[in-house]
Point group: C2
Chain length 205, copies 2
DNA sequence: CGCTAATCTAGAACAAGTTTCAGACTTGAT
DNA sequence: ATCAAGTCTGAAACTTGTTCTAGATTAGCG
């Protein structure tokens, strides 16, 4: 597969560039933690990461790109954390619900950061598709991990996609104050039933 | 229930005010149809609806408010259209999937308008909660209509919420070019299986 | 009709995302 | 060490959402 402009691998960064990138992502997460999406102001990110505004834009071509990259960063971290303590439920549906609720609790500890990342993710337009896709793949991996599957059927993949849809949208309703934590939990548990329905070992699946 | 500031009924508008409001919503939908969220620029909306910018902001306190109101408007219209030709499937799950696919086809005819409305809806923050809630209630009504239910159980309501989550999020993935029309259809059909699972007439529900 | 409060208009001003540019600094190759 | 190409900086400019102001218009009322 030839590398087109949306797939090309980033040319390797020098040490200083890598350091700049990390400073930027750190500043972004820090500002987001304080006041959510609106508090991440590009001039402030540039200033607190000691980088010129133009440079910030060279690394991340828009605020949404920056916040989606911040999310990638946090997700990787979370996937690592989740791996250490695998979910304890017996049935796959239980394990997935447990995993998502654990992630949800982590987000509740930094609601502003969650706000910034999730809003950026759903507001992203086509120019951010590759990055958003990457986040989606990572999320899929987390869910499949929890299910204990390495070789899902197309039906199961569809169920996983629906779970991801529900996860994102439920987060948004919670973040905008239209749903309680309890309601998010119920919705997650409800959608996880699809895992049972699409389990090929089930007779009626 | 006392009317607080978020619930208070709007004082009745004069005829000219009603006309202004309609002109604004019309201009908003028109610009959105051309170029989506970005093409709805407040100065342009004001100009093409022959209203001063300040007046536009008096009617709709932000661009997101305006677009969510535009969505309310379109949804009402769609609910009316859908009522005329009720879905033909036998099982509730089929009828809901059919209804949503019909709505989806309508959106495909105006993808830019869909983009503007859906992006506004998911980007809306707490200040728009009442309006977004209204849209959500309207969507719930459409789905319950299709199910043929007037008295849903809490479990069924949860399934409906999950269907709405999937609907919004699947639309977003389609609008941002990350999912095909076929994939949206599959996701809708998949999530609609929850209707069977939560049907109280089923033994294992 | 004539008054008062509310509403509307035009336009300036402000805020934050984004772009641009000239000049200084790094990097990599020779 | 030196040169060319690429990168970074600081600052200004531009765009679009939002706010503000002063004056004109309108609506409701006696």
């Amino acid at each position: 597969m030839p590398a087109d402009e949306t797939t090309q691998r980033p040319s390797p960064l020098t040490e200083r560039q890598e350091a700049r990138r990390r400073r930027i992502l750190h500043a972004s997460a820090q500002l987001a933690s304080r006041g959510g999406f609106d508090a991440v102001q590009m001039r402030e990110v540039a200033e607190s990461s000691q980088v010129a505004l133009g440079t910030l834009y060279r690394y991340f071509p828009s605020k949404v790109h920056l916040l989606v990259a911040t999310m990638q960063d946090q997700l990787e971290h979370m996937h690592g954390t989740l791996r250490k303590k695998p979910p304890s439920g017996e049935r796959p549906a239980e394990r997935v619900a447990e995993t998502l609720m654990r992630a949800f609790r982590a987000l509740q500890r930094e609601p502003h950061l969650a706000d910034a990342m999730v809003r950026a993710l759903t507001f992203a337009d086509r120019s951010v598709s590759p990055e958003v896709d990457q986040v989606s793949r990572q999320t899929t991996a987390i869910i499949l991990d929890a299910m204990g599957l390495t070789d899902p059927t197309p039906e199961q993949l569809s169920a996983v996609r629906v779970i991801e849809h529900t996860w994102h949208s439920a987060l948004i309703t919670w973040l905008s104050g239209r749903a309680s934590i309890a309601q998010v939990r119920i919705d997650i548990e409800t959608v996880c039933r699809l895992i049972d329905v699409t389990d090929p070992r089930r007779p009626s699946g």
